[in-house]
Symmetry: C2
Subunit: 197 residues, 2 copies
């Protein structure tokens, strides 16, 4: 039985989502066909609004207004610390940990001259401006360990004023991890980052 | 970190789908935020079109036009047999088996006078009309085993012309099933439906 093209188009769209195969997509689509017209429109409109999602002018996080919740908030613990991350999802992961009460800057990538991503594209001038304007004393570089991540960190340390403390988040064995199954890069990083007990 | 309401709305919509919790919904939404504007619009439009999905005037299946692929098709094996099912998903399940080459009628439910679903709502008059117009010789009732399903089958047998063969699909042990774990209703149906080897 050939499904009508209307349905097939929606199935194709759902299949583009990670972890959703054609079978699951069809199941979702068939369940939506049972919704009433208003509910389907609401879903479609909400989805469509993602195309025009605003980003915070200060940090680059998703925002309803000009500024995001973090930048607008008056009850962040520590507004003198700036955490630099690669992506919005990395920022959400840190917020979920509940261990950071400062401000963020989302780079949206890492330095990669080969594909034309330089300091301008990552908004490095904005970091420097904010550090100056807001009297930031410490910058935490929460970039992922990779060649590009490392290069971006070195670059940022270089351009940030010398009196600013610049840290990079710690690398080592993840909680619940086991030495037996970890790659040797992680193990050597963990040895390097050992601490006196 | 409070996510902007735009995002939360989409997460809520995705969470309405079966098997998608808030976490998975957020993952899907975040992946969509990385799509380009055109792709997001395409997804939203495809989804929106589900609100106006047409149904075949003959059988009630989803259709692009006035009639569905099955009713339009000229190479169905057997156009003298009509299979009556409760829902479109039941029809798709039978088509997937590849064992039926006839026509369908989708009731859209079962007789349930308590909530006001009578023969009119299920389009029983359409079945009778089609049986007459198309010279249908056999009607297969592929309704699920339930009190309402049974009652609907009895009603249909009564209103269909006497010379028409009316069968109900067989009940018994599903392939791969094991007697040990099956309910006694299924086992008694299976005993009833025993066949000489």
């Amino acid at each position: 039985l050939e499904l009508p093209s209307t349905l097939i188009k929606v199935v194709e769209q759902f299949s583009k989502l990670q972890g959703i195969g054609e079978k699951t997509a069809l199941r979702h689509v068939l369940s939506v066909t049972k919704w009433n017209t208003g509910d389907v429109h609401a879903f479609a409109n909400a989805l469509d609004s993602l195309a025009n999602l605003k980003k915070c002018e200060d940090c680059g996080m998703f925002a309803d207004d000009v500024f995001c919740e973090v930048c607008k908030s008056s009850d962040r613990e520590n507004t003198k610390t700036l955490c630099v991350v690669e992506s919005i999802t990395d920022c959400l992961a840190i917020e979920r940990s509940g261990q950071f009460g400062g401000l963020y800057h989302i780079l949206g990538g890492t330095l990669n001259p080969l594909i034309g991503i330089g300091p301008e594209e990552l908004g490095v001038h904005k970091i420097l401006q904010r550090v100056k304007d807001k009297g930031i004393g410490e910058v935490i570089l929460a970039l992922n360990p990779s060649v590009e991540g490392d290069a971006t960190c070195s670059y940022l340390r270089e351009v940030l004023p010398e009196q600013i403390v610049v840290d990079r988040i710690g690398f080592g064995i993840p909680i619940g991890g086991s030495l037996e199954f970890l790659d040797s890069m992680t193990i050597s990083k963990a040895l390097e980052n050992r601490r006196i007990m």
